[in-house]
Amino acid sequence: MNRREILRRSAAAGLLATPAAGLLAGCATSGGDDKGDAGAYKGTKSEQNPLGVAEDAPLEVVIFNGGFGEEYAKAHEAMYKEKYPKAEVKHSATQEISKTLQPRFVDGSPPDVVNNSGAGQIDFNGLVSQNALADLGELLAAPSLDVPGKTVKDTLLPGTVEVGSYDGRFLVLNYTYTVYGIWHSTKLFAERGWSYAKTWDEHIALCRQIKAAGIAPWTYAGLHPRYMSWPLISTAIKLGGPSVALAIDNLEPNAWKSDAMRTAADAWHQIVKDRFILDGSPGLDHKQSQTAWCQGKAAFISCGSWLESEQKDVTPAGFNMTVAPTPSLGSGDKLPFEAIRGTAGEPFMVPAKAKNVAGGLEYFRTMLSRKGAQDFTRKVASLPVVAGATDGVELPFGLATVVKALDASGANGFNWVYNNYYRKLERNLVDAACGEFFSGRISPAEFLDQCQKGADSIAQDSSVKKYKRAA
């Protein structure tokens, strides 16, 4: 065979290869067609087993190995196994949920329980629009595992069902209750004789005082500047009422440019204008800024209630971190000063194509039992969405202030969900706008314009499924 012949033959082989590859590609994207219920595990429903779990069915749980670790999940799995000794529970933990599980979703063989969290989280908009999640409605109606006379729904904190619902179907169980607020160290404040300001004017006066004392009043995660959108939107909601958030979530035209948002952005611009932000904050990531705050370089930082466990290693003893609501703008505010943003976070889901859907729901029932919830609180020092889970558990300082703030906020608590509906809007677009705004490169009006432009681009993108929520 001469060289020319080899070339000719390899060209022919190349031609042959193309249809074969097409077949392969066909396999990759068409695998796991609806197999119906074949191979799914089902048991008989009874009073003891309201969800109809097959006793000997294996259960596979995948946990996001982040701030909470995976020990709490192992404890829940042990509780499940206690009830169903014949079931084999397979546990795994990863930091890359999306990349690890993507092929299994396509293949139609996802695990039974997924803790879809962290930076590698799968976008919920995509999952929901592809009907990849099992409806958890049955779980809500089932009786609680160890609170007699109550259904699972009765034991949940307010807002848990709403935040996990898409077009009225409860699809995502957010297991922790997260409070978003402004944090300060009561130790530092006591030493200096400062007290947390309840109105915006007082807040600015306090910032002036703090700056005069040689400490920067504020710092923030400049590489994830969306952390600062939380107090800004909160201020607007307290001024204009929950409808401000509703308009943003429903992508209403000019929702970001409402009067309340405008006033709030103007107010927050003050801390930029008066240079109340620690020099260099725009170049810090969340850990770096939180650490600067723990070192006493800055007095205030905006974060969620995971802050305490995230900063555990670098917080000085007796630092006493305390969460507080955003200051009120004035007497015209629709919500009182105590109103704080609280929402269920740390999402768990059961894939629609999981083999053991009933087992997954039953696992959630175990997590939401009083025993499971208290164990979680003890292990990771965070609030689960189960009411009364902290009773009889000694809380660390920061978490105790979170519980107090929630109690004070009561029925005035508020929340928004556009970040769940349209991940890109918060993570990319509002994030970029916040970066420009809080580093002083754009004005409040330009900031709102940029956010609105982002929201409009999502609204016009026909490839993104839209959700509406009612007040």
């Binding site: 994207t29 799968i122 990319n428 706008a433």
Partner: protein, 303 residues
């Protein structure tokens, strides 16, 4: 022997070809196929949309912004890296002053070579985290040094759209130079000493020596370096993702990060991400072909 040839060739060629086909070619071809669908990545459902993804791509401002940054990388990184690599390599092999006619490196050549090569040993992830700390505005080494020499207002490096991209670019050059110092150094060792001695006797300066002798004789190696660096410049993903995640305000975005963000990050549009990937494939291919074409010269052989 003639009869036994085909089974032999087949048994040696087919397994590797099959592996190559399954693990290299077919994913590429699949990407082409997926790029014509609206596949969202978490179910088997995908509808053909023809070239709609590519049309969207043409009008996607974020993609163009990322491409612009890649173009800057492409223009700057190979030139700076090769220039620095050549400079350091020639200093290490012929920069010494000892004996005017002799061709030796500066004192401590072996140590320098080791130090230059060091970044190459570190994982890119470590390099990114290391430099993120160095650039940190409050506790970083860089601003510490600037403050030590008396500057009061120090920049927020990675948080400032004027600097963030160039900070990443500098790290890219820093992490690559060492490898090319060693590569060029090895190639320079292969150049016969007599040539240098001859031109030195003729009175050539070191700069002339580099320009007229070393570079032409190293041309093949430089060409390889050029292509490698050009392809690396079209990537830049890991450094950008870990150091700035494309920010602030998309000022340090690159096309690879756009693709990642579209599939695993803020959305999961796998069809659209594949379209970005296909565009990247053609870009990289054309850059490689262009680099090969424009850099082609007659080969010089020592006799």
């Amino acid at each position: 022997m003639r009869h036994g040839r085909y089974p032999l060739i087949l048994s040696f060629l087919l397994p590797p070809l099959a592996l190559y086909g399954i693990f290299v070619l077919s994913p590429y071809l699949q990407a082409f196929q997926i790029s014509t669908t609206d596949w969202l990545g978490y179910s088997a459902q995908a509808d053909q949309v023809g070239l709609a993804n590519f049309r969207t791509l043409l009008h996607d401002g974020y993609v163009w912004n990322a491409l612009r940054n890649n173009a800057i990388l492409l223009a700057v990184v190979p030139v700076v890296t090769i220039a620095l690599g050549l400079f350091f390599a020639s200093m290490l092999t012929m920069g010494g002053r000892k004996g005017r006619a002799g061709v030796t490196g500066v004192r401590g050549t072996a140590l320098y070579r080791l130090v230059y090569f060091f970044p190459q040993v570190l994982s890119v992830v470590i390099i990114a985290l290391l430099w993120k700390e160095i650039y940190s505005p409050t506790s970083g080494l860089l601003n510490g040094a600037l403050r030590a020499i008396g500057l009061t207002s120090t920049p927020a490096w990675l948080g400032d759209p004027r600097f963030a991209f160039w900070c990443v670019l500098a790290v890219m050059v820093w992490s690559n130079v060492g490898f090319y110092v060693v590569l060029f150094g090895a190639a320079m060792q292969a150049i016969p000493r007599d040539i240098y001695e001859a031109v030195l006797l003729d009175g050539a300066s070191r700069a002339t020596m580099l320009r007229k002798i070393t570079i032409p004789l190293l041309w093949d190696t430089i060409q390889v370096a050029w292509i490698y660096l050009a392809i690396a410049a079209l990537d830049g993903f890991i450094l950008v993702q870990l150091m700035t995640n494309g920010g602030p305000n998309f000022s340090s975005d690159v096309i690879g990060l756009r693709m990642y963000d579209t599939s695993f990050g803020s959305e999961n549009k796998f069809g659209y991400a594949s379209a970005i990937g296909v565009a990247m494939f053609f870009l990289t291919l054309s850059v490689a072909v262009l680099a090969l074409r424009t850099a082609r010269r007659d080969r010089i052989e020592y006799s």
